[in-house]
Amino acid sequence: MRSRIRWVRSLAVIALAIGATAGWTFRHYVAESWYLYRLDSSDRSVREKAALELGQLRSRRAVAPLVVLLAEERSSHASDAERPPASPWREALVAIGSRGILELLEEYRAADDATRAEIDALAVGIEPRTEDAPALVAALGRTAESSYREGTQSAPAKMATFRDMLSGLLVELEGSAPYVAGEVEALTRSPDPGVRRSAVLVLRAILEAPGEHLPRLLALLRDEDAGVRTEAAFTLGHFGPKLLGERSATPRVGDDESPVDSTRADVTSELERLRGDSSTEVALTAKWALGRIRSEMNGARRSK
């Protein structure tokens, strides 16, 4: 009898310990589920409090219901002038920010134009975080026209604004996310010119020097899309001083030139060619880039 009681006690202690550990481990999930449940309340003040908590938890699961609430709030007011400037749903979405970017993209994809405009307006508040860089890069890739066609709604042109927001957020990470450079370079091979263009400008922001990505940047100067050529030319101009320290993109056997000189030669000859580009924007940017690289070269020569 006594041993049985002891056995039951031990079992209870173990169960309690397992329960406590599970509770501790899943405390965020439990809290998140609770607030998601409260987000369905008929009482607005309860919904508002739940939204605030979900924002603080940076809940990805809350993105979809919050977008629905945002759309409902807009449609419940006859005009924008009647709407209060502060919206708890908008604040919560901004607080979740880059963590819920993939979910936000899915909502954007399915939304009507007015809701898309609401999502576009979130851009000014979202603060990107370094740990969310992979999600941002993945979302950028998913804005490609080809991937978008797989969705239920097809409006690729409208993805441009969201794509600009994604690349803008990644650009704000600047040097803190070089570990995603490989994935970003892969996006420069996307069939969608908008994605390629965004990828180049992100690459420029997150790298300190072109390094191993230089050959790809050079290849992008011959991209069929003028926007991509412009960004690639600007990026090479931006890295102008750094190019002095880079190895040749296309080493030539038996070449007397040093690797550094041949790199400069590759870049400058490609940019020279682009000065005659049919797109004024490309030609202008190539001219600017050449000016930057040459002024740095002259500066370096003078300092020698």
């Binding site: 901004v94 307006a121 000014v124 508040g125 600009d164 927001m165 803008g168 600047e174 202008l284 600017w288």
Partner: protein, 364 residues
Amino acid sequence: MNETSSTRVDVRALGIRRALISAAIAMLVFAISQPLFGFYLPSFHLEDCAWNATDVVVVTEGEAIDGKVRVLETWIGEREVGETLSVSGLASFAPPAWREVWDWNRKATGQSVSGRRIVLFLERTKDGWTGAGGEGKYGGIGIASAWIEAGRAYVRSQLEPSGPQRFHESGTEATLRTRTLEIRAAKDELALATKIEDPRERLAALVQIVRGEIRTAIPLAIAEIEKLDPDTASKALKKLLADSDLRSVASLYVAQALIRVVIHDAGPVIVSALERETERWQVPPDASGKTPNKGDADDRADKCQYLIEVLLKAKYPECLPAVARFRRTLETSRELRPYRSTIGYSCDRLEEFYGAAAARGETR
């Protein structure tokens, strides 16, 4: 006794009424004068900033908005990536209230720009860095910067007289950069053109700038054309004005220059330009509803107004029949309806001016 007290009440009532009427008149006068005397603060003007800046850089404020910024990109100038600059005016944007974003319907969005990425249009002074936009106390870094949030640019502008300057969305960072480079390229081209020794080549380069899109460059290029010998200058200006594709602002500056160079020949050339524009407005829409001025109506209408106004200085009363023809088109054209009152006012002024001049017996 009763009579006296009722008289006093009447007098008091009369006094109150007078005071109320005076107050109402004062309020009415104030309300009417507001739009007349409301003061305008300068807003961010890209062309002004990009043209005058010695350095254009993309910077980050970092954790605190204290005016100490780190360079992320250099668009114009020699600043190096990573360099730290001290731009004192930026510190005043530390309170979030100063960085609130408003929409173009004059409504707060509830969000503020962060300062994580700012495009600064800087001018180097002996005391350090200052904003390249505006002048004197109406200048400052506030209207010489574009704050970037997720790729979009937010600039300070005043939407109504006497109203506050606030941040409003204005395109993307990419378009801002392209436009900045275009403006600087035009500035460089102008500098190069003025150094060309051969007058014919110099003229060709200057004409190219006048035909361009950068407004700041146009009067400067025309001033250089005016420095050529009068015959060459007048021929070039007449040829420019005869070009139907010349934009409104360029047409205005060219017509003004023509009056300065050859006042007696300027009138007929300006009138010819106006007549060509009148004919364009008279073309009826085709089957698809397209007219020659569709998509470009604002600039075309501005061009007509500028040409009419510049005729005031041309001392050419013979312009009146052409102006009358344009006025008839103005009154009948549906496309010109939005511009009817403003251009009509310019026509009135011109007709009044030459009518009065004729009455005084003034001739060319």
